[in-house]
């Protein structure tokens, strides 16, 4: 579907929505089309959504992912003009305000800045009126592209929580989800959707920012903190497990990031911290992941952590930026995903892995669509792989590879 078709389809949807008495706000990336689907830009949309929710009363929400990138729709009981005022304030005053576009619709038509007597948006490169720069093609596309990506990257790198959020957004906005929750559908999950994940992420990213140096060298403290984050997650999702695996992984990676500079030292730091995890294997009662690792002799995410996440640092991260499909084929073929196992059996897991491996060896990444369909059709989920995907993106961002 082309960008114009996507936009028109969304316009029709907005019209239908606007027939209600609510005011609708669309949040999308203010970026040129070539980078609208970039996870850096999707993260900007999520940040604007997070900010907006703290200033407006929310009634309803929807989201789409297409040629226009991630778009979140928020309905509010505020009047159109009041909503527009708050949106303009965000666009003008927030550090990433220039990277997002907040359009306000009331009764089917959009409310313009001029109706409120507010000046039109300025170009972020030359401070001329943005619409004029667009029209006269004043700036080279590569310069505009680089500006948007750099600004987004800088903002996300400022704190570890934001960087982790970026990883989770990259995962959540994948075009194929292999049974997991995505933007356009909930995969095989009936009890949660995109917004359950957003709610969870909003809590997580602010919590990850609270990790301090004392925790990074002390597994007991780190674990206690992890349990606290988990409790917050369950509270935000009304008891749904959205990111338990991700929390576990991110705690190690963030700690290593804070404690050590080189990749090798980080890997060693995680190995040292994780040596305590070994004790988990003897504890009862077992979580499903532990049960599976014990009963089937599989390589679970716990084993990856025991090995300092070296496979993620050394093999996966360098692959980022190649293709989403290739990265997923690698993860699926190498990780014994206990989430998949829980919904099937070892034979099915091995079948999926050899399928992914075959596509990798033949470099037939287009066929990943069939693998994705298989997960959906057989009600399988790849939640463990998704967590690794998110982690790889987090590390790649921190390493300057995104």
């Amino acid at each position: 579907m082309s960008i114009l078709e996507a936009r028109e389809r969304r316009g029709l949807r907005m019209k239908a929505l606007a027939s209600s008495s609510l005011t609708w706000i669309t949040i999308k990336a203010n970026a040129i089309s070539s980078i609208r689907l970039h996870p850096l830009m999707s993260s900007m949309v999520v940040i604007a959504y997070d900010e907006l929710l703290s200033t407006i009363p929310l009634s309803k929400q929807e989201a789409t992912l297409d040629a226009e990138g991630l778009v979140i729709y928020v309905a509010t009981t505020l009047s159109g003009k009041e909503a527009k005022k708050r949106c303009v304030s965000l666009e003008e005053n927030h550090p990433i305000g220039r990277l997002v576009d907040l359009d306000v619709f009331e009764g089917g038509s959009s409310i313009s800045r001029s109706e409120l007597g507010i000046a039109p948006r300025l170009c972020f490169l030359c401070e001329q009126m943005a619409a004029q720069c667009v029209r006269s093609k004043t700036h080279d596309i590569s310069v505009i592209e680089a500006y948007s990506l750099n600004e987004a990257r800088d903002y996300l790198l400022k704190t570890q929580g934001r960087s982790a959020m970026f990883g989770m957004v990259a995962e959540l906005t994948r075009l194929r989800t292999y049974g997991c929750v995505g933007v356009m559908h909930s995969g095989v999950h009936v009890d949660m959707d995109f917004f359950t994940y957003l709610a969870s992420m909003r809590v997580l990213w602010h919590q990850f920012d609270l990790i301090n140096h004392q925790m990074t060298g002390n597994f007991t403290q780190l674990r206690a903190f992890g349990q606290r984050i988990e409790a917050h997650m369950f509270e935000a999702t009304y008891g749904k497990n959205t990111h338990k695996g991700a929390i576990f992984l991110f705690l190690f990676a963030i700690s290593a990031d804070m404690a050590k500079k080189s990749i090798q030292k980080r890997i060693e730091h995680i190995r040292w911290l994780a040596s305590e995890v070994k004790k988990d294997f003897d504890q009862t009662p077992l979580t499903y992941g532990l049960f599976a690792s014990k009963s089937y002799s599989i390589v679970s995410i716990r084993h990856l952590v025991l090995d300092g996440l070296s496979w993620v640092y050394q093999t996966l991260v360098p692959m980022i930026g190649v293709s989403e499909d290739e990265l997923m084929a690698n993860i699926i073929s190498c990780i014994d995903d206990t989430t998949t196992l829980k919904r099937s059996d070892l034979a099915t897991l091995r079948f999926l892995q050899s399928w992914a491996k075959e596509l990798l060896s033949r470099r037939e990444y287009d066929s990943m669509k069939e693998l994705d369909d298989y997960y959906m059709k057989h009600r399988l989920s790849s939640g463990g792989c998704a967590d690794i995907y998110a982690l790889a993106y987090y590390i790649a961002l921190r390493e300057g590879k995104v």
């Binding site: 114009l4 936009r7 028109e8 316009g11 907005m14 359009d103 619409a131 029209r135 006269s136």
Partner: protein, 87 residues
């Protein structure tokens, strides 16, 4: 080509435009353009619209275009789609 029924294309989002076409039986071409960059680029937008109308050999139409900062190719595509929907 003859515009025989009302049709629309596009949206009112930033960098897009919303085109409405109506039959205008033997009354020639009537254009209404509203744009956030009207002063500077209004004449170029009109030129783009007229080029499409010429391409489709349309002699009678009432066309309204509400521009939100669309580029020429977007304007062209939206006008074409509206016209194709009006047959």
């Amino acid at each position: 080509m003859i515009v025989s029924k009302p049709a629309v294309a596009g949206t009112l989002e930033s960098n897009d435009c919303y085109v409405t076409v109506l039959p205008n039986h033997s009354s020639g071409i009537q254009l209404v353009i509203r744009s956030i960059v009207m002063q500077k680029y209004g004449h170029l937008i009109e030129k783009t619209i007229r080029e499409v109308l010429e391409e489709y050999q349309i002699e009678h139409v009432s066309l309204t275009l509400e521009d939100k900062g669309a580029l020429d190719f977007t304007i062209k595509a939206r006008v074409k789609t509206a016209l194709e929907r009006s047959v």
